[in-house]
């Protein structure tokens, strides 16, 4: 046992040098898949949210549906699709997109609903057209919530893509499983660490993006002028 450990440390740095291509490919695949899923999810969620906002009665059914999809255990959902879509990228993308829907739809809805009624009233009363109202008033105010939703969705998806390795997808999860199969720890460590780092980096970047997009939330509180 001790011998096995000596030749099988947690991370063997030569691995990184020798098999860097493999690691880099896995990382790129991982990022691609994540961004693809979140982007698609955002598109679908925008449509769903627009419907829910326009036709109030659909809000509940839509939310319930996305919540239902979300509760299905990911491993189970990947598994359920395999017999039908085989071991392919589609099998991975469909659940990945599905899991982002709840958080994205909720964030978009919350964002738009957070617009103060007085602002809505004033915007309508001053004669701004509906399109102008949505894009120049309501959407910017909804952005903080939407960005938060995108952050959560992205981070979640990074984790899920790791699991997607079990249905044959590439990505960092592949490294982990390979390592497990070969009882070679380094790929596991590398794969796992990179997943975590990737998630944190994406989270932080999106947070920064959110701050950049919302300059009005950065200022201080009311500074009463000397007069009045």
């Amino acid at each position: 046992m001790i011998l096995a450990q000596a030749t099988n440390p947690i991370i063997r740095w030569e691995y990184l040098r020798d098999e860097w291509d493999k690691v880099r490919t896995a990382l790129i695949q991982h990022i691609e898949l994540t961004l693809l899923a979140v982007a698609l999810g955002l598109v679908v969620a925008s449509v769903l949210a627009a419907i829910a906002l326009r036709y109030r009665w659909t809000a509940n059914p839509i939310t319930t549906f996305t919540a239902f999809v979300y509760t299905i255990p990911s491993v189970a959902l990947f598994g359920l699709l395999v017999p039908y879509t085989g071991v392919s990228r589609t099998t991975a993308v469909i659940p990945l997109v599905g899991y982002t829907l709840l958080i994205l739809v909720t964030s978009i809805l919350t964002g738009f609903r957070s617009v103060p009624p007085a602002v809505r009233d004033a915007a309508e009363g001053m004669g701004l057209s509906p399109a102008r109202r949505v894009f120049t008033v309501e959407l910017p105010l909804a952005v903080p919530y939407i960005i938060t939703g995108i952050r959560v969705a992205t981070v979640t998806t990074v984790g899920l893509v790791t699991v997607a390795a079990i249905v044959g997808e590439g990505g960092l999860g592949r490294l982990i499983l390979d390592g497990l199969r070969r009882t070679f720890w380094t790929p596991m460590t590398v794969g796992a660490s990179l997943s975590i780092i990737l998630a944190l980096v994406l989270d932080l970047s999106l947070w920064g993006l959110g701050r950049a997009l919302t300059p009005w939330t950065r200022r201080g509180g009311p500074q009463r002028a000397a007069t009045r």
Partner: protein, 396 residues
């Protein structure tokens, strides 16, 4: 200048409909013609019960929609810019039916100010004010000039233009709201309880500034308020509505107070309406009496005594070089010494010519002596008495 009606009592000049006396029908800027509104699911009209609401607003005037809750004043206001569509009837602005233009275009020509202001939190103050001009496609320079103009007009410091709304106080925010409404220079301004969200001191100031503004821009303003005193202070005419949007009286503030059309109006304006009328005129509108006042340079104790006797007063006043010095009790004359040395009341009961009769009344009520009218330099102008005030109220 007095807003007290000068026709003698007994001939009510408040009318229910139609333009104010002396104004030809064509200059009504806003006309409501048999307007009703019933909300779906409710049993009765919210506005215009019993035949529809008829109301004409003269160009360049301020009309207050006043009434208890449920009287439909806000609903009526919002029908003018079609935020709410009437169930029946017609609304015309400067002769054009409001339903003729596309709604957004109509609203861009009407200023809209609401109680909670509704400034866009994500735009700077300057950008907020520029909202409608931007939508209209003005070029940047024209917008910038206009924003600076408006800031000056509403009394907003230029340094605030680059701040965000949540950095401003309530009063400042409301000023921005008014500036924003006036940005595209609309002829009509709709205001829904615009000063309700600020404290009374700021409210008074904003009301004064609105009057000042109106004297410069002459807009047609329809103002919703539940505050009788605000309506009296600001409006040229008050439309007093009852529940269901029933117009009970449409008259100038003084006519409303002087000659309530019915019991509802009487109850609404309250039992102290005569005192309220006193806010509509200033001391300068009254003829002054001379009063028991003598000049310290020339008068003797006997002059003082005869003055007191002539005015049946126990006090007499002293002036020096035309400047009012104060009141002296008659009893003080019994001592020796010159008039100049006599002790005077502090503070002296006096009032400025620009004070309202209400303020003068207040001082009369709380002084033993008569009340002197003094100008900015303290120079004596006369004495104001209760009798003169009562005569003014009676319209003589």
């Amino acid at each position: 200048m007095t807003r007290l009606s000068t026709t003698p009592t007994g001939t009510p000049t408040g009318t229910l409909t139609g333009p104010p006396a002396g104004t030809p029908a064509g200059t009504a800027a806003i006309r409501l013609i048999e307007v009703t509104k019933r909300f779906p699911g409710t049993g009765a009209d919210a506005v215009g019960r019993g035949g529809g609401l008829r109301l004409d607003v003269a160009k360049g005037s301020i009309v207050a929609l006043l009434g208890p809750s449920g009287c439909g004043k806000t609903t009526t206001l919002r029908m003018i810019n079609r935020m709410i569509e009437p169930t029946s009837g017609r609304i015309e602005i400067e002769g054009r039916d409001v339903t003729r233009s596309p709604v957004a275009e109509l609203r861009r020509g009407i200023g809209y100010v609401i109680q909670q202001v509704g400034l866009f939190p994500h735009h700077t103050v300057a950008r907020n004010i520029a909202a409608v001009p931007s939508a209209l496609g003005w070029d940047k320079d024209r917008i910038a000039t206009r924003v600076r103009e408006l800031a000056d007009l509403v009394g907003l410091e230029p340094s605030l233009l680059d701040r965000y709304p949540d950095e401003l106080s309530g009063g400042q925010q409301q000023r921005v709201g008014v500036a924003r409404a006036l940005a595209a220079d609309p002829p009509v301004l709709l205001m829904d309880e615009p000063f309700g969200a600020v404290d009374p001191v700021v409210r008074g100031r904003l009301q004064d500034e609105l009057l000042g503004l109106q004297s410069r821009v002459q807009k047609t303003i329809v103002l919703v308020t539940h505050d009788l005193d605000e309506a009296i202070k600001l409006a040229d005419r008050i439309a007093l509505l009852n529940v269901g949007g029933v117009l009970e009286q449409y008259a100038s503030p003084d006519d409303l107070l002087r000659a309530p059309a019915n019991e509802f109006v009487e109850r609404f304006v309250g039992g102290d309406r005569s005192i309220r009328r006193l806010t509509l005129a200033t001391v300068a509108d009254l003829p002054f009496a001379q009063g028991p006042v003598v000049a310290v340079e020339t008068a003797t104790a006997d002059d003082a005594r005869s003055a007191m006797a002539a005015h049946r007063s126990d006090w007499f006043g002293l002036t020096a070089d035309g400047v009012f010095l104060g009141w002296v009790p008659g009893a003080a004359l019994d001592g020796a010494g010159s008039l100049a040395d006599l002790p005077r009341t502090v503070p002296a009961a006096q009032v400025a010519a620009t004070s309202t009769l209400r303020a003068a009344m207040e001082i009369i009520m709380t002084s033993d002596t008569s009340v002197a009218v003094v100008d900015d330099g303290g120079r004596f102008g006369g004495v104001v008495t209760l009798e003169r005030i009562r005569a003014a109220l009676a319209g003589a």
